[in-house]
Amino acid sequence: MGSGFSRKAAAGLLEYLLGKAETKVSKPAEVFLALCTAEVKESTLSAGLSEATYTTYARKAIKPADLSEATEAQPSIIETVNELIFAKVDSGSSTIISWAICTSGTTGGGAILAFGQCTSTALSTTQTPPTVAAKALKVELKAT
């Protein structure tokens, strides 16, 4: 006997977690993308993230309109449909190697909803603004 999420349930969960649509509980109005200088693990708490430290760094809001519908497929995939542009780096620099989607826009605050890696990328006053291309940020949920 099998168990786990159906493809539709996985799609519904992704849409709920990332603020696209409601299922049984209310969805967040928006979620926030954090850029990190150390890896994020499943046990990492938001207060334990090592986030970028350049002076103008702030988590970037991802609004529902920035997200696709989650696909009813295996795995179910949800992705950004708009470019995400962070604030320009005014001073300082960071090299980021991972990302996290959080419930709060406050650095170190809220909870982590999803996370992943990125190619090691230097952000500085001459390499700015940090940008995530449309469709570049994807989160998938495997149903089994």
Binding site: G2, S3, L45, S98, T121, T126, Q127, V132, A136, K142
Partner: protein, 141 residues
């Protein structure tokens, strides 16, 4: 010799970040509340397994994914630079470490430090190459 190469940075960044003791105590308490276990260090085997499944680390080894020996070599170089420490056995802030590698304060400062030799002339937007975030229900058929 440059220690924070792509490989060194990825290995260092795969260890739990160093925080000041007061922040770490709160974090450990919160981790124990949330998951029942505070993870503040990794053994070589844990780190090697972690990096082997890391999509951003698949090209960092001499022949593709990092081997256990390559991860160990990177850790030794990071230790010589003072960015990590090896704990044979011991307890820090109430958390046990055994045969474990731990990020140091200097390591945390290094991964957050301004980049040496960055371009002086503006180069424009930097596009971040993201890897997919994958979640698994963990269900068994």
């Amino acid at each position: 010799m440059e220690v924070l190469t792509d490989l060194g940075r990825r290995v260092l960044g795969s260890l739990p970040p160093w925080f000041p003791d007061d922040h770490m105590r709160k974090l450990i308490a919160a981790e124990q509340d949330a998951a029942g276990e505070a993870v503040q260090s990794h053994t070589l085997d844990e780190l090697a397994a972690d990096l082997a499944s890391n999509p951003a680390a698949q090209h960092l080894g001499a022949e593709g994914p990092l081997t256990r020996e390559e991860v160990h070599g990177a850790l030794v170089a990071l230790e010589e630079a003072g960015y990590v420490e090896f704990i044979e056995s011991g307890t820090r802030l109430g958390v046990e470490h055994k045969q474990a590698w731990k990020m140091t304060k200097a390591g945390r400062e290094a991964i957050n430090a301004p980049l040496p030799g960055r371009p002086v002339e503006p180069q424009g937007a930097v596009t971040i190459p993201m890897h997919v975030g994958s979640m698994n229900s963990g269900a068994e058929a």
